[in-house]
């Protein structure tokens, strides 16, 4: 197993594992967050409500105690009152759970100056009781509560609940009485719960991601294996099979895949055998036909050499014999060549060749005397190409002989043009031409443009088929244009370098 770091976007597009894991992780994150926040808010409101209930009870009982204490106290002046309040404020009783609580007392505005008293326990700042809340408390006869921050004189604050009510002292008047409970403990608990929930969420997400990743990998491994094996099969490594165990769906994929590979291999080897058989047959036919043909040819030539002594009809027969043997021979050669293509037994012998020189030689060979007919237009410098010399020469020879056969006393233009990676040889004649719609048929075996007057010119009818096969062997092509009465244009285009392919055409067949 190898791990590669890919750019995320690329990984997203190219890896199913990555995509599925990513989606599942994202979905579970959302789900866990929703669940977690619901849980958290339920827990926190529960904790708060409990504290609130206790606080209100606590505050009410504290208020009652204070009321009693005040009622039974004997005080006539402010000093005595202060003493009582200081006493109450100095040691605020503990809450039921044993956490700290603070008390604040404010006298109502209408109280006689003698008994005015504003004070808080410990170091609690008077500002801790919000003015708005004090107003609500003053106007109501019920116990009121509100969340407020506890502010201490040293500047520190704590979250808390303020519970407020009135104290009514007979003969003196009303006081606002506030009991302030710290929520620090609850806050701490909540933070702890929050942290645990967060941690649980993260761990859960990570585990889900990890599980998905490995489950997906496990699921996808056979598919990757199948892809790899398929690729190897494509490369021709037909013996490769998929590994699989068990009887699940994946195993059935593996089984079917291997069945396919076996059937493919059988088909291919059957075809290979056929092709070998075909090649063998071709080579046998070649040998068996060629030997008697050689004998016949020699015999005919011996007869032909003495034809002057024959009667005219016998002499003419000898001539016909010779020419037909020649035709038979070239037909045999062409047929064997085509069989080799069909059996895919054609072998290329690539060598670096100057195409200009090759075309010049071919023109000279076909038409040594009348150099005015075939006009070559070629680059001045050599055009070096990697080709099978013999095959390219054969194509050029075929195209030029064809043009000469159909030129009808017009010239034939041969043009060579090159681009960076391709080279074209165009052969244009201005003779009889052909119907443009027939252009595909031209390359069919034994096809003749005009069956009525065809066979006078002598070719085997296989030349263009062979040329096309030769061009294909070079990854090249032959493009054709033609029009009846206006002539024809055949363009061979091949890549300059072995293994290349055609991307542009230096010469187009269309005029």
């Amino acid at each position: 197993m190898k791990f590669q770091l890919k750019p995320p976007l690329k990984a997203w597009r190219s890896s199913l594992v990555f995509r599925v894991t990513g989606t599942i992780v994202a979905l579970s994150l959302i789900l866990i967050w929703l669940l977690g926040s619901a849980l958290f808010s339920r827990v926190s409101s529960g904790i708060f409500n409990e504290k609130l209930t206790l606080s209100i009870l606590d505050a009410q009982s504290t208020a009652r105690n204070t009321q009693i204490q005040l009622t039974f106290s004997k005080y006539q002046d402010k000093a005595a009152l202060t003493l009582v309040f200081d006493d109450i404020l100095a040691l605020p009783p503990r809450t039921f759970e044993g956490t700290a609580k603070e008390i604040a007392v404010f006298s109502f505005a209408n109280i006689d100056d003698t008994f005015k008293f504003d004070g808080t326990s410990n170091l609690l700042d008077l500002k801790s009781i919000p003015e708005t809340f004090r107003e609500i408390t003053r106007e109501s006869n019920e116990t009121q509560w509100e969340r407020a921050d506890l502010i201490y004189l040293d500047g520190s604050t704590e979250p808390g609940i303020v519970v407020g009510q009135d104290l009514n002292i007979a003969g003196v008047g009303k006081y606002e009485f506030y009991v302030v409970f710290s929520l620090a403990q609850q806050e701490k608990t909540m933070t702890l719960i929050f942290n645990y929930l967060l941690l649980a969420g993260i761990v859960l997400t990570f585990l889900i991601g990890l599980t998905t990743y490995f489950a997906m990998r496990r699921l996808i491994a056979p598919i990757q294996d199948a892809a790899r094996v398929a690729e190897e099969l494509t490369k021709g490594n037909l013996d490769l099979r998929m590994d699989f165990q068990g009887e699940d769906e994946i195993a059935s994929l593996g089984y079917s895949f291997n069945e396919m590979a076996v059937s493919l291999q059988q088909q291919i080897s059957r075809l290979e055998n056929l092709s070998k058989l075909q090649q063998r047959f071709v080579s046998d036919v070649s040998h068996e036909l060629r030997t008697p043909l050689t004998t016949i040819r020699m015999a005919s030539q011996v007869i032909f050499a003495t034809k002057d002594t024959f009667e005219p009809t016998v002499a003419r027969s000898a001539e016909l014999l010779i020419s037909q043997i020649e035709r038979f021979e070239s037909l045999l050669t062409d047929l064997l060549e085509l069989s080799r293509f069909d059996a895919q037994g054609a072998i290329m012998e690539i060598e670096e060749t100057d195409l200009v020189a090759l075309v010049k030689e071919t023109i000279e060979y076909i038409h040594p005397s009348q150099d005015r007919i075939v006009i070559l237009q070629a680059p001045n410098s050599p055009v070096m190409v990697d080709v099978d010399h013999r095959r390219i020469k054969r194509i050029i020879r075929n195209l030029i002989s064809n043009a000469l056969d159909h030129r009808e006393n017009q010239k034939v233009d041969v043009r060579i043009a090159e681009s960076e990676n391709e080279v074209s040889v165009g052969v244009r004649d201005y003779g009889s031409g052909f119907n443009y719609t027939d252009r595909k048929m031209l390359f069919e075996r034994f096809w003749r443009a005009d069956s009525s007057r065809a066979r006078s010119t002598g070719g085997t009818g296989l030349g263009l088929s062979i040329s096309l096969e030769d061009a294909k062997l070079h990854q090249g092509e032959i493009e054709v244009w033609g029009e009846r009465g206006r002539g024809a244009h055949f363009v061979l285009t091949i890549p300059k370098y072995a293994g290349g392919s055609i991307e542009s055409r230096p010469i187009s067949a269309q005029l």
Partner: protein, 228 residues
């Protein structure tokens, strides 16, 4: 009279070859089996051997190797297939030339004549190629006083290159000059023989100095004194 040994398992073809070659003025010995060649070859000592590739007993390529072990006589292979492997195997075994069936008998005779002709002796010409001396009178190649044995064809090939030291010979040019071919024939013939020749005369055939390759064109003679 020049004698030719014709080795072919097809009796009709062999007989026909006999008729044609006798008509051309040669004395002909016919052999039908590969394994019968060597005893007859030593007995008759022919001036040229026409050798079919497919032979019963011993195939033509093997026969060719056996002949080359004892003689530098010109050998022309007759191949029915014209397939590259056959032809190249024959040439590598030491055949000078080959004809693919069905061949033109006139061309066969013409080629045989080229193989049989003695190079016209040019008096007082001692040619040099690379560090080799070519003695045209003695028909021998001398390097540092030592004679190197070559077939007549190899000798002709070397002489052709040495006669015009500056010229680059295309394969086609060599074919027509040494083998007497018309143009547009198989240039593998040249490649194989250049290789065989190099293995005999070059000190390091991988880095030839006597017969230099001109890429994309052909071959030319190495400059004397420049070889080591």
């Amino acid at each position: 009279m020049t004698s030719i040994m014709v080795v072919d398992d097809d009796q009709d073809l062999a007989e026909m070859l006999g008729i044609v070659l006798t008509g051309a003025g040669y004395e002909v010995d016919l052999v039908n089996r590969g394994d019968e060649v060597m005893p007859l070859f030593t007995a008759y000592a022919p001036d040229l051997v026409l050798l079919d590739v497919m032979l019963p007993g011993l195939n033509g390529v093997e026969v060719c190797k056996l002949i080359r072990e004892v003689s530098m006589v010109p050998i022309v292979m007759l191949s029915a297939r014209g397939d590259k492997q056959d032809v190249v195997a024959g040439l590598e075994a030491g055949a000078d030339d080959y004809m693919v069936k069905p061949f033109d008998p006139l061309e066969l005779v013409a080629r045989m004549k080229v193989r049989l002709r003695r190079s016209a002796v040019e008096v007082n010409t001692e040619l040099c190629i690379g560090n080799l001396k070519i003695d045209q009178i003695e028909h021998s190649i001398i390097r540092d006083g030592q004679t190197i044995a070559l077939t007549r064809l190899e000798f002709d090939l070397l002489v052709a290159l040495a006669k015009e030291p500056g010229r680059v010979f295309s394969r086609e040019a060599l074919l027509s000059e040494v083998w007497g071919y018309r143009p547009a024939t198989d240039t593998r013939l040249v490649n194989v023989h250049i290789q065989r020749l190099r293995s005999k005369i070059e000190i390091n055939p991988e880095d030839p100095k006597v017969i230099v390759t001109v890429r994309g064109v052909g071959y030319k003679a190495g400059v004397p004194g420049n070889s080591q």
